[in-house]
């Protein structure tokens, strides 16, 4: 699953640690999400989308795999 977390984070000039603190997870979690190695839970995906002021679909893209 592709995601825009890294792009949205760097756009805002945030470090992984700062974003991690904002959504209350570890820096490794943000790192793994950005690398596409970890698909976050729905609550965390929602928290990230809300933090960036986007919808979940705008942040995470599964290319319609779940439909």
């Amino acid at each position: 699953m592709k995601n825009e977390v890294r792009a949205l984070r760097t756009e805002r000039g945030l470090s992984q640690a700062q974003l991690a603190e904002a959504v209350k997870v570890s820096r490794q979690t943000i790192n793994s999400i950005e690398k596409g190695r970890y698909i976050p839970s729905l609550p965390l995906a929602l928290a990230l989308a809300r933090y960036f002021g986007q919808t979940v679909e705008e942040v995470f893209d599964d290319n319609g795999a779940g439909v």
């Binding site: 209350k24 997870v25 570890s26 820096r27 490794q28 979690t29 793994s32 970890y38 976050p40 839970s41 965390l44």
Partner: protein
């Protein structure tokens, strides 16, 4: 205010290590092996100190629980499953080895049976609860 469970504090795993060391030492002592008792206590206390003082490491914080989030929870589940798979593979292997040498297979047969029953019971319980 959210309360942190005791097993999610930085003290739980170090304290557990030392407690396990004391239990091992007591068992060795009861069996008349004072040297192993001291060694077990020293080893487990050393582990406890590493866990307590190694908080700068992400891995140690993840192990301890105080640095754990959903990502670390997933790692923990996968690591536990992998450790269980290794353990049950060894138990099955030892069981076959014992049988091949004309022995009863104890205690590996019992351990294998416990593992199998525990797995099925856990699966049924988790399915029932979800």
């Amino acid at each position: 205010m959210t309360t942190v469970p005791v097993y999610r504090t930085k003290w739980f795993l170090p304290a557990f290590s030392v407690a396990l060391g004391v239990a091992c030492a007591a068992a060795f002592w009861a069996g008349g092996d004072g040297g192993s008792a001291v060694f077990a206590l020293a080893l487990m206390t050393a582990f406890g100190l590493v866990f307590l003082l190694g908080g700068r490491s992400d891995l140690v914080r993840g192990l301890r629980g105080d640095g754990r989030d959903e990502y670390w929870e997933r790692l923990d589940i996968h690591a536990t499953a992998l450790a269980g798979l290794v353990l049950i593979s060894v138990v099955i292997g030892m069981c076959l080895w014992e049988w091949a040498h004309g022995r009863s297979g104890e205690p590996y047969t019992q351990l294998g049976a416990i593992a199998g029953v525990a797995y099925i019971a856990a699966l049924a319980l988790l399915r029932w609860r979800s």
